[in-house]
């Protein structure tokens, strides 16, 4: 079965620093002194202005980028490169256009040389994301939302301990986005996978997360960690929801203290 609870792993980021060089050779501190603990099965959002290093941090957890200082751990094991236990979904679905949807979702199993007779779960995952009947379709025949569902199934088929979501819904229209948010919550609740979500959408962060990590740029740092005390399922127009929203806007300097609530209501 697809639903196996307690798959989630813990992520531990210790004093991470990452420096990039721009075209002129000038150093840009993308991340500095970043410490972060994500508990098993937690859903955490990274939010902040562009250039705050939230995507860089996510890529480091995925093993696609490396810290200049500090270290990252999954369940106390140091992250040294990409591994199938840490799944990643980009904003662009990046499905392989030469494979049909079934084979795209099966990529992880094929790449890990899982025998053919043990790849039956692919259909379960297609069902999970609501893509039954599309297994023979090619990516270009799918809408943006459907392609992103397929990308989600492709990441989930490896049963990762941590699922990293890099603005996965950023390119979708508002309605598709809200539907997908509900589906992500459903999958998360069923499977208990740890999820780390990078987003620039404050509502999305509040709607989905247990905790919101607010980051600032130049140098990229964690400014504040906000617990989301709301029960689930959440209501997008609940007063507490909106209160939290204005609080985050304040932290990001998009609203002044005190006047914010009435203004954003």
């Amino acid at each position: 079965m697809v639903s196996e609870r307690g798959l989630g792993g813990s992520i531990n980021v210790q004093n991470v620093r990452r420096v990039f060089k721009d075209v002129g050779g000038k150093e840009i501190v993308a991340l500095d002194k970043v410490d972060l603990d994500v508990r098993p099965g937690e859903l955490v959002s990274l939010i902040g202005p562009s250039g705050c290093g939230k995507s860089t941090l996510l890529r480091m957890i995925a093993g696609l980028d490396y810290p200049d200082q500090g270290a990252l751990y999954l369940d106390d094991e140091r992250i040294t490169g990409p591994h199938f236990t840490r799944g990643l979904v980009f904003q662009d679905p990046t499905l392989f256009p030469w494979l049909n949807i079934h084979d795209n979702v099966a990529t992880g199993l094929v790449a890990r040389r899982i025998p053919r007779d043990q790849r039956l779960q692919v259909m379960d995952y297609l069902k999970l994301v609501g893509l039954e009947g599309f297994e023979k379709s090619y990516p270009h025949e799918l809408s943006g939302g459907m392609a992103q569902r397929a990308a989600l199934a492709r990441a989930l088929v490896n049963q990762p301990k941590v699922l990293l979501l890099d603005e996965p819904l950023g390119a979708l229209d508002a309605f598709t986005r809200m539907t997908m948010q509900d589906e992500i919550i459903k999958i998360w609740q069923e499977r208990g996978t740890t999820m780390i979500l990078v987003t620039h959408d404050i509502d999305e962060a509040i709607y989905l997360s247990d905790r919101i990590i607010v980051m600032t740029s130049r140098p990229g740092k964690i400014q504040e960690v906000i617990e989301v005390p709301l029960g689930r399922p959440r209501e997008r127009n609940h007063p507490d929801f909106l209160l939290l929203r204005s609080k985050i806007l304040e932290i990001l300097h998009f609203a002044k203290e005190g006047e914010s609530l009435s203004y954003y209501l």
């Binding site: 995925a62 990409p82 030469w98 494979l99 990441a155």
Partner: protein, 332 residues
């Protein structure tokens, strides 16, 4: 009232469109008949003894076309296809007729360089054993050279596109050898290789190797990095990244290289056979020219055209099969 009115207009339009359709469909047949009548009745000015080959061909075409015409009234797809192709067929039959008139009938073009269609058909049929043998020799040489060249080109291209180290060593070689026209190697190849066959294989392989290697390496080097990143997070090994990500992603570009390589292999084949090899269609061409038998020259040109365009069609068919996922994405 209005219902009846609508009914009668629809019948009228149907009759009208049908009549227009029929006119276009019958035109090629009429042209063929005119061809035949002119050929049989107009006196010849070129002093060849004419044979039955050309009129027989026209008669066969008339029978085939009539049969298709009759079938097309039953099969809708055939009908539409025929309707689309009829003007083209008509033009082709007219050109053949013009050819017959300006050569055999009016002798407007000098002999022996411009024989009529009957003479060329004659050469095609009476000399088919030598032409057929030459074709087989050419195909054997072409396939051997093309396959070796394409394989070397693919391997070199993949290595160059994938690894910086290989790129460092192969690129200069490609830059120096690549632009030299393959046929320039003929003098050396004929000395180095024991037989003219293997010398020609070498030359054709060189002609194919260059475009295939260039296109393959640039195709692989330009694969979106995101594909590799996604594959890595899914547990892909290095082997998987090369064979299941890089090569499929680059395959549209690789096919362009294979296609370009095929074009230069045709050129190289014919030139190599004209210059050094003692067999094949290129040799046949020069041999026929030596005897000033231009009907044979044209006959072999027809064979060359049929063979090469079939091979091009073949590679396009393979491309469409392999790149079926591209349907609706990119066309070339």
């Amino acid at each position: 009232m209005s219902l009846e009115n609508g009914k009668s207009t629809s019948v009228l339009t149907r009759v009208m469109t049908q009549r227009r359709f029929q006119a276009t469909l019958i035109l090629p047949l009429i042209i063929l008949l005119i061809d035949l009548v002119i050929h049989l009745n107009l006196p010849n000015k070129q002093s060849f003894t004419t044979t039955r080959y050309y009129p027989a061909l026209l008669e066969i075409l008339i029978i085939i076309y009539s049969a298709i015409l009759i079938f097309s009234t039953k099969v809708r797809r055939l009908y539409e296809r025929l309707l689309e192709k009829a003007p083209l067929l008509m033009a082709v039959f007219m050109l053949v007729e013009i050819w017959d008139v300006v050569t055999l009938k009016l002798k407007l073009l000098p002999l022996p360089y411009f024989p009529g269609p009957d003479k060329v058909l004659n050469a095609l049929f009476t000399d088919w054993s030598l032409l057929g043998l030459s074709t087989l020799y050419s195909l054997r040489l072409l396939f051997t050279g093309y396959i070796i060249g394409a394989l070397i080109g693919l391997v070199a291209g993949i290595l160059m596109g994938w690894s910086k180290k290989w790129n460092y060593w192969i690129t200069p070689l490609l830059k120096v050898i690549g632009p030299v026209p393959a046929i320039a190697w003929i003098p050396i190849a004929l000395v180095v290789f024991p037989t003219s066959f293997w010398a020609s294989v070498f030359i054709i392989a060189i002609a194919v190797w260059f475009p295939v290697a260039v296109m393959t390496s640039s195709g692989i080097a330009n694969v979106q990095n995101a594909y590799f990143e996604v594959a890595k997070t899914l547990g892909a090994t290095q082997k998987y990244l090369i064979f299941k990500v890089a090569i499929p992603a680059a395959s549209p570009t690789i096919f362009i290289g294979l296609f370009m390589g095929m074009g230069s292999s045709f050129l190289t084949l014919i030139v190599a056979e004209m210059l050094g090899v003692k067999a094949g269609l290129g040799w046949y061409l020069t041999w026929a020219q030596g005897w000033a038998d231009y009907s044979k020259v044209y006959a072999s040109l027809i064979v060359v055209s049929v063979i090469f365009s079939s091979l091009i069609t073949l590679i396009f068919t393979i491309k469409d099969r392999v790149l079926i996922w591209q349907r609706g994405l990119i066309k070339w």
